[in-house]
Amino acid sequence: MYVSPIREPLIKGGKDYSQVTKDIMAPMAGKPSIYWYVGIAISGGALLFGAWATFVTVYYGIGSWGLNKTIGWAWDITNFVWWVGIGHAGTFISAILLLFRQKWRTSINRSAEAMTLIAIACAGFFPLIHMGRIVLGFFIFPYPNTRELWVNFNSPLLWDVFALTTYFLVSLIFWYVGLIPDIGTVRDKAKNKIRKAIYGFLSFGWTGSAKHWSRHETVSLILAGLAAPLVLSVHTIVSFDFATSVIPGWHTTIFPPYFVSGAVFSGFAMVLTLLIVTRKALNLEQYITKVHIESMTKIIILTGSIVGIAYITEFFMAWYSGVEYEQYAFMNRAFGPYAWAYWIMMTCNVITPQLFWFKKIRTNLVAVFIISIFVNIGMWFERFVIIVTSLHRDYLPSSWTMYTPTMAEVGLYVGTFGLFFTLFMVFIRVFPVIAIAEVKSVLKSSSDEKKHTHHE
């Protein structure tokens, strides 16, 4: 396949296939570095904090949070939506970029998808823990029971159950199907018998047969085709949690696409945050190059701008609607007691990503890293603003209240960070962080070495 010379190489360092295998598997081999131990200790500590907060929440009740009669959701659902959003990048990269034939996805899709799965797990924790009666949480499943009572299919929360479950499972098999050939590689490279047996089991008996590859490609493609609308549907349904309601600031029709775009926005930011560190730590700079990072920053500009337009649209429409409740809700966002949250959101989500229009900033890793963290913060505040500032002052001023989080809520959030990083660090030790086979498949067309020698 011909690749135009104007395109920058995706893989640097003049790698051959064997080198690719070696490089990518390097982080799995040998003893972990001291940084890995430090990292796992810190995230393990965060996880313990989360465990404590979970205990407090279950043992003492939701009363240990800062919620009140007016504000029924705050950090819990903010965190939920935030993590779900982050969980969008992986599948977006694997599915939609695959459909759009973006080759740069091959270096990042594996880790991004792993991140997705972990993020979904973190996200899923919050709807569970936020229940007043978590032990009866199984009521949300439509199982046959003696009362012949089913669930309420009108409820967006119920849709969430289906959407999240489906999304997690489909992402999982999508990820695993992509992982099978690489597990085969790990298996074949394993020196140790136990390791060989384990990876042999996990590789499902992968042989690399042309027929298998052919079907594998078809499966990947169709899974991508299925996952693409699935990705959209998940955050769409999450947005329905708010948009179906009658609360000003929640009920607005733009939410579905705006949430999806916000999710991709935050997801890519998190991928950037993670990969900028990971590529350095694992010596993968030649695989995850500045081209990859630039491409991701471009997606961030795109989605960030969509989000920005949505903010403006919402604000304008609130005025245009002539509905006093809508108007108040938005004025309250911008100038009310939680204005600081709103302006953090605006700054982080609308202004800072626009810096990516400048190539200098796009290619400056430190700048990208900082901005990616800004976006993470901004997107957290977006959900906080939507949830808390809409709820705390809705229709009847008599019920207006304020919200302050408690240590338990902070603990739960930090705890999911602990879970996230712990699992991610386990992941980099256990599976190849880059899709080896996929990188090899684009190596010829997209590496710097081959570029000059390749002839039509």
């Binding site: 396949m1 051959d16 296939y17 064997s18 295998t21 439509p142 012949e148 089913w150 309420n152 299919f153 009108n154 119920l158 849709w159 289906f162 959407a163 489906t166 499972l169 489909v170 098999i173 999508f174 199907v177 099978i180 050939p181 085969g184 590689t185 298996r187 074949d188 490279k189 089991f201 996990l202 499902f204 008996g205 992968w206 042989t207 690399g208 047969s209 042309a210 027929k211 298998h212 590859w213 052919s214 079907r215 594998h216 490609e217 078809t218 499966v219 169709i222 899974l223 299925l226 996952a227 609308p229 699935l230 549907s233 349904i237 329905f240 080896i436 086979a437 090899k440 498949s441 010829k444």
Partner: protein, 171 residues
């Protein structure tokens, strides 16, 4: 008892060229094992397009139908409940679950079909001809009749003519 003659290339373009050569000489290549999907290989080997998409469609259709009918049954037949004055047959409300189940069924039916058709799965014991094929070797496998040693020789020659390396005969 069959024997396998294997040989490998280190570059997919060489493989494709060699393969064309080998096959033109009437050698039936039973399989090609590669570290990544090589474009054009299925054409050379004459592989049919996979029909997994049909499975996916069927799975999706079943998932969607089941999902929709189940919700409709619950709301209109099994236990009709007035929720906020919404109609019992609340089609817009049924869409998300219908969609999710369609995707879930489609994805899972297809992946299972994929695993089954490839004889892949936890603990599956497929023959691994060469551990390097998951690294940088493009291995071709020719199934040989054990008795017919002459033929083996002939094929070996054809293979080496086509630039294949490491020609070995395996049980």
């Amino acid at each position: 008892m069959n024997k396998y003659l294997t040989a490998y290339y280190l570059d997919e373009e060489d493989l494709l060229k060699g393969l064309k050569k080998i096959m033109s000489k009437g050698v039936e290549v039973s399989d090609v094992l590669t570290p990544f999907p090589v474009h054009g290989l299925d054409k050379v080997l004459g592989l049919r397009r996979s029909r997994l998409s049909v499975v996916a469609f069927a799975g999706g259709a079943i998932g969607a139908t089941l999902g929709f009918l189940f919700q409709a049954w619950v709301f209109t037949r099994a236990y009709p409940i007035n929720f906020g004055g919404k109609p019992y047959f609340a089609v817009p409300s049924f869409m998300p679950v219908t969609f999710e189940l369609a995707v879930l069924f489609a994805a899972f039916s297809m992946v299972f079909a994929f695993l089954i058709s490839n004889n892949l799965g936890p603990g599956s014991k497929n023959i691994i001809h060469d551990e390097q094929i998951t690294d940088d070797r493009f291995l071709l496998v020719v199934k040989m009749d054990e008795e017919n040693e002459e033929r083996i020789k002939v094929v070996e020659n054809i293979l080496s003519d086509a630039g294949a390396q490491g020609i070995t005969l395996k049980a």
